[in-house]
Symmetry: C2
Subunit: 351 residues, 2 copies
Amino acid sequence: MTNLTIALDAMGGDVGPRVIVPAALQALASNPTLKLLLVGKPDAIQPLLAPFAHDSKAAELVSRIQIIPADNIIANEAKPSQAIRQSKGTSMRIALDLVKSGEAQACVSAGNTGALMGLAKLMLKSIDGIDRPALMTVLPNIEKGKTVVLDLGANVNCDSQMLVQFAVMGAVMAEELAGIQHPKVALLNIGEEDSKGLDNIREAAAVLKQTASINYIGYVEGNDLLTGKTDVLVCDGFAGNVTLKTMEGIVRIILSLLKSASTKNKKPSWWVQLAKKWIKKRIIKRFGELNPDQYNGATLLGLKGIVIKSHGAANEQAFIAAIEHAVHAVERQVPDRIAARLKIVLPKSEQ
Amino acid sequence: MTNLTIALDAMGGDVGPRVIVPAALQALASNPTLKLLLVGKPDAIQPLLAPFAHDSKAAELVSRIQIIPADNIIANEAKPSQAIRQSKGTSMRIALDLVKSGEAQACVSAGNTGALMGLAKLMLKSIDGIDRPALMTVLPNIEKGKTVVLDLGANVNCDSQMLVQFAVMGAVMAEELAGIQHPKVALLNIGEEDSKGLDNIREAAAVLKQTASINYIGYVEGNDLLTGKTDVLVCDGFAGNVTLKTMEGIVRIILSLLKSASTKNKKPSWWVQLAKKWIKKRIIKRFGELNPDQYNGATLLGLKGIVIKSHGAANEQAFIAAIEHAVHAVERQVPDRIAARLKIVLPKSEQ
């Protein structure tokens, strides 16, 4: 592994330096060649690093951190268009600038999604052949495989051409990140028949059917999100966000019901307690993979640089996962591979 | 309770008479004043009733069934527009005709959703003030309350006016079917800020904020589908279908994982088996409420008659649930109550 440098927007989201600094140290501990640029208010970051100065092992980690000062922050609730106009000097913009200048190979932010998406497109530009970047994540499925899902909310309105571009990018990611050869690609729809759904979906289906380099399998419904029926699930950002949030909500409910189950009734006998503990552990392990804290980190695909969006309310473990996504994306040279594939699949879209 | 008569499309869906006839008998057993009109091929229905002729108790149930002959069936995979044009003599159309003529007070079909929706609108007409009917269901939430969700797929494209109409109908249903006073109404969106989402959603929000008779609480995201944050969740048919199917898929996965859990490893000791059985039963009971087989039956709201759509692959228990929905809708005089409320809320929409 060669040296790699990742910029972290240390001020973005609800999380801030109190979560991001310890997550950064842990990520550095597990990636010996990683360097991190923490972009934010030095006054907020420095005190969190100070305690490690006296421990030689921790000091080595700290030595691979560089603080890049940024005085301003883009508010979570800011309207993206306005936030972008007023983005000068913000931690998010400076973090993206570091990717643009080549000082960092990727950037991670838990900040305002709309602003991140808009600024990233403005500063890093889209790959030739891509109209708009998309947010992508990789979910585990019950076949113990992986499913690539996009768009998760970057684009609420998508025309058929965008859906086709998402399909191409998703297929590349399934091959590169999940190691699936000739991945199955499906469009999310409300039925499996050709006549179902919205015009843009039907038009995208017609194009994908004609695209030999994509293993297009047809429409898939929401109930197949986790069944492994498809390796890549393509949808507009509205449907993708709704699907993912619905899944997250239900997984959270399951986990909380399981965790609280034993305290509700009168104390059961010891053997019931023991067996419940056993079965809860197994189910929590299984569904825990779908816990947003575990798979946190959506990749903003289709840019000439690597940008990872973390949940705004990520905890330390979740933010580490987002940094790891950035590391993998750099190692796999995601933008280059997508660009190369697009040249084959969509020759007419080249600029 | 006064006498009530419900027409069943006995041929619709994947289910057919083999599921519908026994479900009909069970529904009759629990509703002593119910009469059922089974619309379909007599040759397919009659033999399933014959065995009950010699049992006096069963014969009483059979005496409250009337077979209405229909030679044709609308195929599940038929394109709705074409199916509607060729609907003469089909079991679905005759069942709807019985509602139109007043011979039945409601109809239940597991057939082609698009065809049912189109035919129902054509034959029964929309309530004044409603542009297009919507599919609605009532889900249990973790607060042990109920959440009314619509549209579930009748309309893939919805303008803001339709969403407002759905909100009004949903509020009436929450009051009438779930007994919730002054129900909270929310729009499904991909964020809680005003600026989020699609134009039609933002426009509907602006109208609902000004509508004093609706307790509009704002946007709700997919992760709050089952948390009880809102009593009524309004969305277009595409998002509603995706959300519901996603939920159903995950619930099915949970149930199947729980059911299969004990057979995977080497045989555990008897007490572990016993305790596992106990806890599985509890969890299955809890999540079973969300099993499509339990809450089956979406109401086609906004028509001048009562039409219930059953899952196409409903089992006997599920089809009974759909018949029960029809019974309740008749008892609560759903169309009249919606019409009355619309006159108050949307005076300008009256025709």
